[in-house]
């Protein structure tokens, strides 16, 4: 008996990926090989299920296929090592191992174990992102490669090296202790956030065909929240993603040009995402410990709840940035803080706050500092200086839509 393949099937398959990997990794005690075997099982399912239907026990099917791959791999490894002797006995052992009941070694924490493993501190962000998408997200290497616009072979290498790093660090396949979890959760959340911003940033124009990484990040964060229901920062991150993603349809115009927040058509914002985000945030804030993601979500919520840009509650946003500055200080926070301060106390105040950043090497040459300065100078009425800084910012950004936007701002003022 099989079920037909439909639009929800792909989702089901991806949800199963970390569970299958967890079961196989635990059974064979080899995360790296189990990860490859699971990927092969996923690809087999993607190839066969649409035609042949979904098996009755899809998880069992995947575990079985992955386990076979493992034993095949081990068999050829054994065969390579000792061509003649003792092989028969060993392979028999392996076969029976693969056939044992499949559900016994399921563990609901597997996805969580994998998340902590893939967001290992020894990995660079790009490796952690790639590995998380494959091992936890159940994406194929081809899909991940496509999302980051690199060749599939390059992405495969990146993933294989990431696994090598984990192997070298000899991280055991188990849930980190409560203490370790607290220590390493920020790294996990950061990786999820990076996946979201990569997707959100590239979700326009010629990149529209790319795999929807923003939605994938939301799905993974939603799963993480289900596994850590009492963690306010996980909820905060999910809220931040939803409250940001809600504006997706409004942030670009017909010609794919960027539309700043204050000029977006707010009727295009996704009300459902906004109300879910706000509900999550309200519950998270009630827990007491306010972190970086909850504060950013709170700022996003203030914007999302405002009907018209000119009604924005800037004093509240300013207060939130002041808090954020204390919880997680950094030049980008200062930059946004300056914008909020300018909205409340006037552009001179904002420009004064920006001056502190001129000597900060982390942001001194960054286009965003010039872009914000240009914006505030324009508000001061100093159009010549504003044009100059819009143009500097345009020359410094590496984003094409941003460069077009900034160049147009300069041209608009120059034409006055």
């Amino acid at each position: 008996m099989t079920k037909p393949w439909d639009t929800t099937s792909e989702h089901l398959l991806r949800e199963l990926a970390p569970q299958v990997l967890g079961a196989v990794a635990r059974r064979f005690r080899d995360f790296s090989a189990a990860e490859d075997a699971t990927q092969e099982a996923m690809i087999a399912a993607f190839t066969q299920w649409p035609d042949q239907g979904i098996p009755d026990n899809p998880r069992g099917w995947l575990i079985q296929v992955a386990s076979r791959r493992m034993t095949d791999g081990m068999r050829s490894e054994i065969a390579r090592r000792e061509r003649e002797t003792a092989v028969a006995a060993e392979t028999e052992n392996l076969t029976s191992l693969a056939e044992i009941e499949l559900e016994a070694d399921m563990d609901p924490d597997d996805t969580l174990i994998l998340l902590f493993m893939c967001c290992h501190p020894a990995l660079t962000p790009s490796s952690a992102i790639a590995l998380t998408l494959r091992a936890v997200g159940g994406l194929t290497t081809a899909e991940i490669a496509n999302a980051f616009l690199v060749p599939e072979a390059t992405m495969a290498q990146r993933i294989s090296r990431a696994k090598q790093t984990i192997k070298t660090s000899s991280t055991p396949f188990r849930l980190p202790s409560a203490h370790e979890r607290t220590e390493r959760l920020p790294a996990v959340l950061h990786v999820l956030y990076l996946i979201f911003s990569e997707g959100y940033a590239s979700s326009i124009g010629s990149h529209l065909q790319r795999f929807d990484l923003a939605r994938e990040a939301i799905r993974l964060t939603r799963n993480t929240k289900a596994l850590l229901p009492n963690n306010a920062e996980v909820a905060g991150l999910l809220a931040l993603m939803l409250l940001t993603d809600a504006r997706r349809a409004a942030r670009t115009g017909q010609d794919e040009e960027l539309i700043p927040l204050d000029r977006q058509d707010r009727s295009l914002w996704d009300r459902e995402e906004i109300s879910e985000g706000i509900e999550l945030l309200t519950a998270a804030l009630a827990k007491g410990s306010v972190g970086l993601y909850q504060l950013q979500a709170a700022i996003a919520a203030v914007h999302d709840e405002t009907q018209r840009a000119e009604e924005t509650d800037w004093p509240q946003i300013l207060a939130l940035y002041e808090l954020l500055n204390r919880v997680s200080p950094g030049p980008m926070v200062t930059l946004n803080h300056a914008i909020a301060a300018a909205m409340v106390h006037g552009p001179a105040k904002g420009l004064e706050l920006l001056r502190a950043l001129d000597s900060d090497t982390r942001v001194a040459g960054h286009y965003r500092l010039d872009a914000v300065r240009a914006h505030l100078l324009e508000k001061m009425g100093d159009h010549q200086a504003a044009i100059k800084h819009y143009r500097i910012a345009a020359a410094r950004t590496t984003s094409i839509p941003e460069r077009n936007y900034l160049t147009t701002q300069a041209a608009r003022l120059a034409g006055d």
Partner: protein, 130 residues
């Protein structure tokens, strides 16, 4: 982030380098090795070598949109000989790869120290400012 590493070493009128075979082999092996290394590190997006400037044409549209080609270049003009596109975690890493390519062995096995132009590749917009 992606970077393009451009090797601007070719000059018009100069053909293949006239080095001893041993040195030429070492140079080619080095370049192949570099590409292999970048592929294996999961950083190589693409790498291409370009044909010699003899085959280069400068094209402009004429009055009716028809191509007008121009192929005679001054000897001093530098041409792109080849490029790598890499996807790396930091600009420093892109510079390190460029430095490695720059030091490819030339005649007598001495490093050429060729200039490699490193430029960031434009991307989509960054996340919205809150």
């Amino acid at each position: 982030m992606k970077y393009i590493l451009m090797m601007n070493t070719m000059r018009a009128g100069h053909g293949v380098p006239e080095w001893p075979q041993k040195d030429l082999r070492a140079h080619i092996a080095f370049m192949m090795g570099l590409n292999k290394e970048l592929r294996e590190s999961g950083e190589l997006v693409s790498a291409e070598g370009l044909a010699f400037p003899e085959q280069a044409k400068l094209v402009r549209a004429g009055k009716n949109g028809a191509p007008i080609t121009d192929g005679v270049f001054p000897e001093s003009k530098e041409f792109l000989a080849g490029y790598w596109i890499v996807d790396v975690d930091s600009p420093e890493r892109a510079y390190a790869i460029a430095a490695k390519a720059s030091a490819a062995p030339g005649p007598g096995g001495a490093p050429l120290n060729m200039p490699i132009e490193v430029r960031p590749i434009m991307s989509g917009p960054p996340p919205e400012m809150l």
